[in-house]
C-alpha cells in the first residue's frame, strides 16, 4: 500500500521548472528558467540590467505571475495560488530594495512596526519585536529618528529590520548596496550574512563585483532570460 504522506514533495525553498515570463507588451523577460535553491542558502543573482533579474525576484514574491512553467516557494505552488492568498505568502518573505522604501513621515520604530501591525500582532509583541530587530541591525538608539535624519546605510538597515521583523524564511534583497558607498556596503553585507547564519535563505541581486568576488557564495548569472551560469562559490560575471 502506498502511503502518500511518506512521499516528500521537496526540500527546496525555491523550485523553478521551465519558467517563462512574457509581459503583456510582448517583451519576454524569462525564457525557461530551471533552478532549485535550498533552504538556508545565500545566492547572488547577477546579470546586466534588463537580463531578467527583477522579473526573477518578482515571480518569487508573486508580484508577477509566470506565463508558463512551475514555481514553488517554500512548498507553495505559486502558479495555482489565488490572489487573496498572496498576502500570506509575502508574510513569509522579506524584501529589501535599493531605494529602501521607508515612509518619510514615520519614525524608525514606526516604519518597522508597520510590518507587524499589518499582520495584526499585539502592540506588546510589536514593541518588543521592533526593539529586538533594531538591536540586531545596530539601530536601537535611533528608534525615534525619522529616515531623513539617518545615513543611507542606516536607512537600509531600517529596511532590513522591517524585512526580518516577521521572521521570514526567505529574504530577497534587490541591489541592497546599489545606493551605498563601499564601506557602508560591507556593513550591510555583514548584516545579511548574520541573518543568513540564523537559517534565513537569502537571494541577493547585485552589480557589485567586489562583494561577489570577496564573499564567495553561489552565483546564478542570468542573461537574455536564461540561466547562463550556476556556480557554487562563483565569481562575478554574466558569461557562462
Amino acid at each position: 500500500m502506498v502511503n502518500n504522506f511518506d512521499i516528500k514533495v521537496n526540500d527546496y525553498m525555491i523550485e523553478m521548472q521551465n519558467v517563462k515570463k512574457t509581459y503583456p507588451n510582448g517583451v519576454t523577460a524569462l525564457n525557461g528558467i530551471d533552478i532549485n535553491i535550498d533552504a538556508g542558502e545565500f545566492v547572488y543573482l547577477v546579470g546586466q540590467s534588463g537580463a531578467g533579474k527583477s522579473t526573477f525576484t518578482k515571480l518569487i514574491f508573486r508580484e508577477e505571475v509566470a506565463s508558463s512553467g512551475e514555481i514553488r516557494v517554500n512548498g507553495e505552488d505559486l502558479i495555482k495560488m489565488k490572489w487573496r492568498q498572496v498576502p500570506f505568502l509575502r508574510r513569509s518573505i522579506g524584501v529589501v530594495y535599493q531605494d529602501f522604501k521607508l515612509l518619510p513621515k514615520m519614525t524608525v520604530f514606526e516604519n518597522v512596526a508597520f510590518a507587524l501591525e499589518v499582520v495584526e500582532e499585539s502592540p506588546k509583541h510589536i514593541r518588543k519585536r521592533v526593539m529586538d530587530v533594531l538591536d540586531q541591525v545596530g539601530l536601537k538608539n535611533k528608534a525615534r529618528f525619522i529616515p531623513d535624519e539617518l545615513s543611507g546605510g542606516e536607512q537600509q538597515r531600517v529596511a532590513i529590520a522591517r524585512a526580518i521583523a516577521n521572521y521570514p524564511k526567505l529574504l530577497i534583497a534587490d541591489e541592497p548596496t546599489g545606493n551605498l558607498d563601499p564601506d557602508t556596503s560591507w556593513g550591510i553585507m555583514k548584516l545579511l550574512e548574520e541573518i543568513n547564519a540564523t537559517g534565513t535563505t537569502i537571494i541577493m541581486a547585485t552589480h557589485s563585483k567586489e562583494i561577489v568576488n570577496t564573499v564567495r557564495r553561489r552565483v546564478i548569472a542570468i542573461e537574455g532570460g536564461l540561466v547562463v551560469r550556476d556556480q557554487q562559490r562563483g565569481e562575478y560575471g554574466y558569461e557562462a
Binding site: 487573496r84 509575502r90 510590518a115 501591525e117 499589518v118 495584526e120 522591517r162
Partner: protein, 296 residues
C-alpha cells in the same frame, strides 16, 4: 477582525480626512448639496405618489344597465362583474339612487332636476371598484362587452391623465436622483483618490509586507463613510425644518383634497433614507477609487 484592528482602521480613516481637511470639506459640501436636491425630489415624489394614490382610490367604474334588461339579466350581470379577477366589490345603484346622487351633488341648483322625479331619464347602474386602481381601464373594457350593458363610465380622461402624470413624475424624478447620486459618488471618489495618491507609497509597502486588500481598504472605507454621513446632516435638518413649515402653512391646507404626508413618520423615513444614501455613496465612492491601487 480584532477590536484593535477596527480601532486602527477608524483612527487611520479619521487621520486621512483630517490631513486633507480642505478636500474633505469640499466633498462634504458636495454631498450636502446633492443630498438636499435628492431629498427634495424624494419628498416631492413621495407626496405626489401619496396624493395620486388617494385620488386613484376614489376611482370607480359605473356600469349603466340597458333599459330593456330584465331583472333577471341585471342580477346575472352583477354576478358576472363580481367574478372578474381584480374586482374588489360591486354595488347596485338604482336609477332613483342615481338621480338622488346627481341632485345632491349639484347642491342648490340640483332642485331643477326635481321635475325628473316623475319620469327619471337615468339608468340603473353597477358601481365597480378595482382592487388595484391601475387595472380600472382593463376592467372597464371587459365589462363593456357584457350583455345588458348600455355604457361604461369611469372618468376616462381624468384617470388616464392622472396615471400618465404620476408615471411621468416618477420616471423624471428617478432619473434626476440617479444623475445627482452619480455626481456625488464621482466627487467623493475623487477626494478619496487624492488621499490615496498621497498614501500610495504606504499602500505599496503595506502590500510588500503582506497586508490583505481589506486591511488596506478599511481606512478608506471609513473615510468615505464619514464624508457621506457628515454630508447628510444638513440636508436632513433643512428638509425637516422646511417640511415642518409647509405642513403648518395655510397655502397647503386650503386644498382639502390634497393631503400631504404627515410630518411623523414621514420625516423620519426621509431622514433615514438620506442618511443611508449618504453613507452608501460615500462608501461606494471610496471603495471604487481604492480598487485600482490594490492591483499587485
Amino acid at each position: 477582525m480584532r477590536l484593535r484592528t477596527v480601532k486602527r482602521h477608524f483612527r487611520e480613516g479619521l487621520k486621512n480626512s483630517w490631513r486633507n481637511s480642505w478636500m474633505t470639506l469640499a466633498s462634504i459640501a458636495a454631498v450636502t448639496t446633492t443630498l438636499i436636491l435628492v431629498g427634495t425630489f424624494i419628498a416631492l415624489l413621495m407626496n405626489i405618489n401619496h396624493i395620486a394614490q388617494s385620488i386613484e382610490e376614489d376611482v370607480e367604474i359605473k356600469v349603466y344597465i340597458d333599459l330593456t334588461a330584465t331583472e333577471e339579466s341585471i342580477d346575472e350581470l352583477g354576478e358576472r362583474i363580481s367574478t372578474i379577477t381584480n374586482v374588489q366589490n360591486v354595488t347596485f345603484s338604482s336609477r332613483d339612487d342615481e338621480l338622488q346622487n346627481l341632485i345632491s351633488s349639484m347642491g342648490e341648483q340640483g332642485s331643477v332636476w326635481d321635475t325628473f322625479m316623475q319620469d327619471n331619464p337615468l339608468l340603473d347602474a353597477y358601481v365597480v371598484e378595482a382592487i388595484n386602481p391601475q387595472d380600472t381601464m382593463e376592467i372597464a373594457a371587459e365589462i363593456e362587452d357584457f350583455n345588458g350593458v348600455d355604457y361604461v363610465n369611469y372618468g376616462q380622461e381624468v384617470v388616464e391623465a392622472l396615471f400618465a402624470f404620476n408615471n411621468f413624475a416618477r420616471n423624471i424624478g428617478l432619473i434626476l436622483i440617479a444623475a445627482l447620486l452619480f455626481t456625488a459618488i464621482f466627487l467623493i471618489s475623487n477626494t478619496i483618490k487624492i488621499t490615496i495618491f498621497a498614501r500610495r507609497k504606504e499602500i505599496e509597502i503595506m502590500k510588500l509586507v503582506g497586508a490583505t486588500n481589506w486591511f488596506i481598504r478599511w481606512p478608506f472605507f471609513v473615510e468615505g463613510l464619514l464624508l457621506g454621513v457628515l454630508g447628510s446632516i444638513i440636508p436632513i435638518a433643512l428638509l425637516a425644518a422646511i417640511y415642518n413649515f409647509l405642513i403648518g402653512s395655510a397655502a397647503i391646507n386650503q386644498f382639502d383634497f390634497i393631503q400631504i404626508l404627515p410630518f411623523n413618520p414621514f420625516i423620519w423615513q426621509l431622514g433615514g433614507l438620506i442618511l443611508l444614501i449618504g453613507a452608501g455613496i460615500g462608501v461606494w465612492g471610496s471603495v471604487m477609487s481604492v480598487r485600482k491601487f490594490l492591483k499587485v
